[in-house]
């Protein structure tokens, strides 16, 4: 495999919340253009890890922890880099609760992705040049909700709100998308649509995507590589297709049931998520 540049580099990341260890000595390397699933039950440290990558959390002070994204330092030894804002502009985050501003129009929420490029005197009065509005409109068209551009974000359904959040990431021109449980609050149809959008963005725009999931099925369908966490430690890092039900059971024990979508039983042939994989034309392309 030819060497593609490293995009995310995590070294010896340690994080405690009080006495509770959230991440223990986590090291991770993600290369450009990868689509990686971050798998684990609730409380396994997926969100915490993602939040360290965008500098929304900082690691334990005095620990040897170090996070670099796009070749630039995010934090080292629990200290955020002073240039973290410039880096966040290129690293979009998508949240489980969408984190849109309810009372603002969808368009303004999406234009927020352009804030770092615009001078402050202009953005504080919510003024954006036409080219940015055009760009936001194109991003909304790409995810298929351009008709809702002038509605308040609160009037959209969950799936539409998450697509608006993806548009915001597109307007950012992000080179990396960190998606923190993007489908955990969505119905199955919206979940599939959001995941396909992320996969499209990954394939067509070459954006590196790191997506945390707690359902194995979606990892099988959309992500060639999986990193699995348990109690703050990485317990598996490799091709998703090599994760069979047996392996998952040894990794997660009694927590295994939580990892499967409600209603979507793991297939008996030992290949978890085989049903969903059969439904997704995209996964066939990726598996090939």
């Amino acid at each position: 495999m030819p060497e593609t540049p490293t995009v995310i580099e995590v070294r010896a990341l340690h994080k405690h919340f009080g006495a509770q260890a959230a991440l223990r000595d986590v090291s991770l390397t993600v290369r450009q253009g990868e689509m990686v699933a971050l798998l684990g039950a609730s409380g396994s440290g997926k969100s915490t890890l993602l939040r360290h990558l965008s500098g929304l959390h900082h690691a334990d002070a005095g620990s040897p922890s170090r996070v670099d994204v796009l070749g630039r330092n995010v934090q080292a030894g629990g200290r955020l880099s002073p240039r973290v804002r410039a880096l966040r502009a290129e690293v979009a985050t998508i949240f489980q609760q969408f984190n849109l501003v309810d009372r603002l129009p969808v368009m303004t929420n999406v234009l927020a992705g352009a804030l770092p490029r615009q001078p402050l005197w202009r953005t504080l009065f919510k003024r954006f040049p036409c080219c940015e509005v055009q760009r936001a409109y194109e991003a909304l068209s790409r995810v298929g909700i351009e008709c809702c551009a002038w509605q308040r974000a609160s009037t959209l359904s969950g799936g539409q709100q998450q697509r608006a959040a993806i548009s915001r990431a597109l307007v950012q021109g992000a080179k990396v998308i960190l998606a923190d449980e993007p489908i955990a609050s969505l119905d199955p149809e919206s979940s599939r649509r959001v995941m396909s959008l992320l996969a499209d963005v990954n394939r067509e725009l070459g954006v590196t995507v790191l997506v945390s999931l707690h359902q194995v099925d979606y990892a099988f369908a959309f992500c060639p590589r999986t990193v699995a966490l348990r109690a703050g430690e990485i317990v598996y890092d490799g091709p998703t297709r090599e994760l069979d039900a047996e392996r998952l059971r040894t990794l997660y024990g009694s927590q295994t049931d939580e990892l499967f979508a409600p209603g979507g039983q793991p297939a008996d042939d030992g290949r978890a998520g085989a049903t969903l994989r059969a439904l997704s034309p995209l996964a066939v392309g990726q598996a090939a």
Binding site: S54, L56, R85, A86, L87, R88, A89, E90, A92, T93, F95, Q97, F98, N99, L100, V101, D102, R103, L104, T108, A112, G113, L115, P116, L120, T123, L124, K126, A165, R168, Q172
Partner: protein, 266 residues
Amino acid sequence: MTVQTLTTAGLPPAPRRTPLSTLAIWGVLLALLAGSWTGADMRPLDLLRDAGNMAAYANGFFPPDFHDWRYYLAEMVVTLQIALWGTALAVVCSVPLALLAAGNITPWWVHQPVRRVLDACRSINEMVFALLFVVAVGLGPFAGVLALWVHTTGVLAKLFSEAVETIDPQPVEGIRATGAHPLEEIVYGVIPQVTPLWISYALYRFESNVRSASVVGMVGAGGIGMVLWDVIRSFEYSQTAAVLLMLVVSVSCIDLCSAWLRKRLV
């Protein structure tokens, strides 16, 4: 086994306040009231004894004398104008002060001092401020505007900052994650969340300021309060009744209008 016992079997017993502690609370309250009796110079029997005098006094108010109604109306409008400017200046000052006083926006060494300054503005009554400003800028409505401005800033900035402290942090984080400037986080993430409450508080304070503006006039800060003070001092009770009636009607109108506006805007 009955359904009743089934549903309550696993339920921990509800915490019960002892009758003794309830009694103690009542006891303290009654003791306080009794202790304050002489200090407050309570003479309820005087109300009965001097009922005749009071009836005669009240009789002086009728019929109200609307002879000078044009003058009263003009001064009433001045009172509204004082309230309007006092509130507007206070709102403008309260926005930055509220953000500085919000515990979820600024560190403690910023919000604690700002809160103490706001406490000082709030703890001194408009009337006292008006007395001070009359000396500083002379008799007239401007002193009233300044008095309302300072006091209302203290009140509104506190209410505004409490609204800021109850916002949902997630949308703000969404804006932060795009690499936005902290000021942009406030304009895009915080302000939209608090706007309805802020509008509601500002309108409510405008209503109270119309009432306060009529009082600050009494110490020489212009408006209907000054007229009221003049007619009371010259024992013109029928004119006093007319002024009071106009005051009641205009304050009620303002209350109704702002309630309607609040419903529309929020």
